[in-house]
Symmetry: C2
């Protein structure tokens, strides 16, 4: 198939070169929007039909929000951008020599410029066999799986008569003390202590044991030590058992081994490592240790100035430190790639990318957060208010903003979790359907 | 296991006989709530953790509402009812002689009174082989499957280059012109004509062909003919192709045969028949043709005055007409069974059940509905306002009411469908991932 595709409803094809963008996450979407009005035709390819606001995925997993509250159809985001179209397809391989992308369904499409924004997947640090026992949070399906496991664990504990097994059902281990792990642990503790209160007859959900394990010596290791200490204090106050400086040596159906010490827990959640998307491998460019593509200062490939890599898939250093794998870096990278393409069409030389750190935030519980801002570290209620507004601001879609605000307001007043639906097939570990004896 | 189960947190067991309720739908939940404060212990058993407001399921299928907006955890509904507990389990068999219920996981539980409110499943009128091609709407999973198929069909049409196949992807056949079929067809037409407008580049979603097929000579056959005619007129005005007096003779991967005439359509939805839950068979009581249990006037079984059947699973005539399988009949039946049990404990004889018809409603489109009320038939905007308030009133949960109202208000103003998420595995028919050639 040609790079020039037939245009909608018989109108003439959009002029200019064809820019293909792989991935509708923060980086890909920012690139597409930054090309609005440019003399190019844009095709954004994603295997999902929605852009996902990953920073709030833990709230879907812990039944605070609905899946669609933090997702927006990519088509809708780009609806009014005349030079853009959306293709629901999964990328199979990229042929940078012939400038074509092949899809897993056999189709292929050519490009003049390519922006690869395929993001990252979770990494089990060489122990992929742990994945079935310790799901992680990257997609909507992951979040619904985690939600199902957590809710089913309480149901199983309610029915279980053996006290040791009951305790194991009420034990939740979260591996990884970064922002996702901290937010997950805090949210789980809130749910157990408040939202589920009074609903069971044979267990007290508030006695659930929530353990947060971090290999380094403090939680939120990328934040200043003062905020790590505050986060730890807040978590402990909420009843979370915080274990730092401990590494997971094995995970199985019944629990985890932490540096040789055994912890029985039927629910283990993985919030520890990420690994770049395997799409990077087909670019033929050098990769770093975690599979990320080593890009040039303008985010293009060393041999291919027409191919850019942005977001979590790009490996880049700035002032001697790696650019972090956060939404802001992806958004800024996507915009930069778009501006290099626009500039090139006007004959301007490519400028190097510069990441501007706007700070980091992590919510810990109801009205508690830590904020590491460029010239300010804050914690507590003020940090939480900042957290709320930043997340609402960056959430895409008017409807999503209204609904998330409504649900947060309801939850703040009632302590309730509305999205407590167990759907889909029974949890894969599924012991709750076994005989009770 | 004993009928008397251990009580929560070591408190003494609740006094009185054990009432087991099978099913957390309208009938079962109404029965449980009507036993609040009675000197009995209640166990409500459901294989799902949530009560589902089925009348709005079509809005989940057509991406107007989120799954959890119309569902409420059963535990939460009964949280403050001290004499009730909830068991997440699937019923295997009922032994009315020994007064025990066995669960599919091997557990069993005795009862003194049993209220069976297991509802109905869809029926393919002897053609179960049609089910994979024509999913129906009974559970949240069904609704999400239908949503996925509908959204994927538009995506597939956008990519397809063969005009005939493109047209088949843009053809949607709904089998069954009762309230569910009418509401589904209207909602689908709205979505195609408004919500998806401008989002595709190679198709015009407004040109989707939506066909509603009904075997009898009018849609909404249980409503007065005048309202049927109005519903048809409204549907036609919205662009729905209404075909009455036509029967489906076969359904396959590519379309349907309607009395010998072929219609190519890649998406077929089933809204035609219901069949009683197979649980009725294990009661040993006589069943009617559709598998419903023939109950005595007080809703108990002929040989077992301690066993009641309520809702869609009960077959009952009143004034020469069958009591309809609607939410109101289930709610009233559940309350009646509870009152017979309460009366029996006080020595009062069982009174016969009388269904009080409160009317029927069906929404057709935006601000259009028909209402068959006891002394009044209305249609149009006023009927739609009644429809909105009745549905909000009967929806369970404060949060659900707030969120559904918010979303309806947003949708009324913007025409948007917020819940347009394709999740889960690709559609089973999945041709959209095949090669494009």
């Amino acid at each position: 198939m040609d790079a020039a595709r037939p245009a909608p409803n018989g109108s003439p094809p959009p002029p200019g070169p064809h820019v293909m963008i792989l991935g509708g996450g923060f980086g890909g979407l920012a690139a597409a929007r930054a090309l609005d009005g440019a003399p190019v035709s844009v095709t954004l390819v994603d295997r999902r039909n929605h852009h996902l606001f990953q920073p709030l995925l833990y709230q879907v997993a812990t039944a605070s929000l609905n899946a669609s509250d933090i997702a927006e159809p990519i088509r809708k985001v780009l609806q009014r951008q005349d030079n853009a179209e959306v293709l629901l397809a999964e990328v199979g391989a990229i042929d940078v020599e012939h400038r074509t992308v092949t899809f897993t369904d056999g189709g292929e499409l050519g490009y003049d410029y390519l922006i690869v924004a395929a993001g990252a997947a979770h990494s089990y640090v060489g122990h992929d066999e742990w994945e079935p026992y310790a799901p992680s949070l990257k997609s909507i399906e992951d979040a619904l799986d985690v939600r199902r496991r957590v809710l089913v664990a309480f149901e199983a504990a309610e029915r279980e008569e053996d006290p040791a097994v009951k305790a194991a059902w009420l034990a939740f281990v979260i591996v990884g003390g970064g922002p996702t792990g901290v937010e997950l642990a805090g949210s789980l503790a809130e749910m157990a202590r408040h939202a589920l209160r009074g609903e069971f007859r044979h267990i007290d959900p508030a006695r659930a044991r929530i353990v947060l394990v971090e290999g380094l010596d403090r939680v939120l290791p990328t934040f200043p030590p003062k905020l790590s200490a505050r986060a730890r204090k807040d978590l402990v106050a909420m009843g979370v058992d915080v274990r730092t400086g401990l590494r997971v040596s094995s995970i199985d159906d019944n629990g985890v081994d932490l540096d040789g010490s055994r912890m029985e827990a039927r629910t283990v959640l993985w919030a520890a490592g990420v690994r770049a998307s395997p799409i990077g491998e087909s670019l033929g460019a050098p990769l770093d240790r975690t599979g990320r593509v080593l890009v040039r200062p303008d985010l293009s490939l060393p041999e291919h100035p027409e191919v850019f890599v942005v977001g979590d898939l790009a490996a880049m250093e700035q002032d001697g430190k790696p650019v972090p794998g956060v939404a802001q870096a992806a958004i800024q990278g996507g915009r930069h790639a778009a501006s290099v393409i626009r500039g090139g069409l006007e004959g301007r030389p490519a400028e190097p990318f510069r990441y501007r750190d706007k700070g980091m935030l992590a919510a810990i519980g109801r009205a508690e957060a830590v904020a590491d801002l460029p010239h300010l570290d804050i914690s507590g209620f003020v940090a939480w208010v900042i957290w709320v507004f930043v997340h609402i601001y960056f959430l895409i879609g008017f409807r999503n903003r209204v609904l998330v605000m409504t649900q947060w307001a309801l939850a703040f007043v009632t302590h309730d979790r509305g999205a407590r639906l167990i759907t889909g097939p029974p949890a894969t570990r599924g012991r709750w359907t076994e005989p009770r004896h």
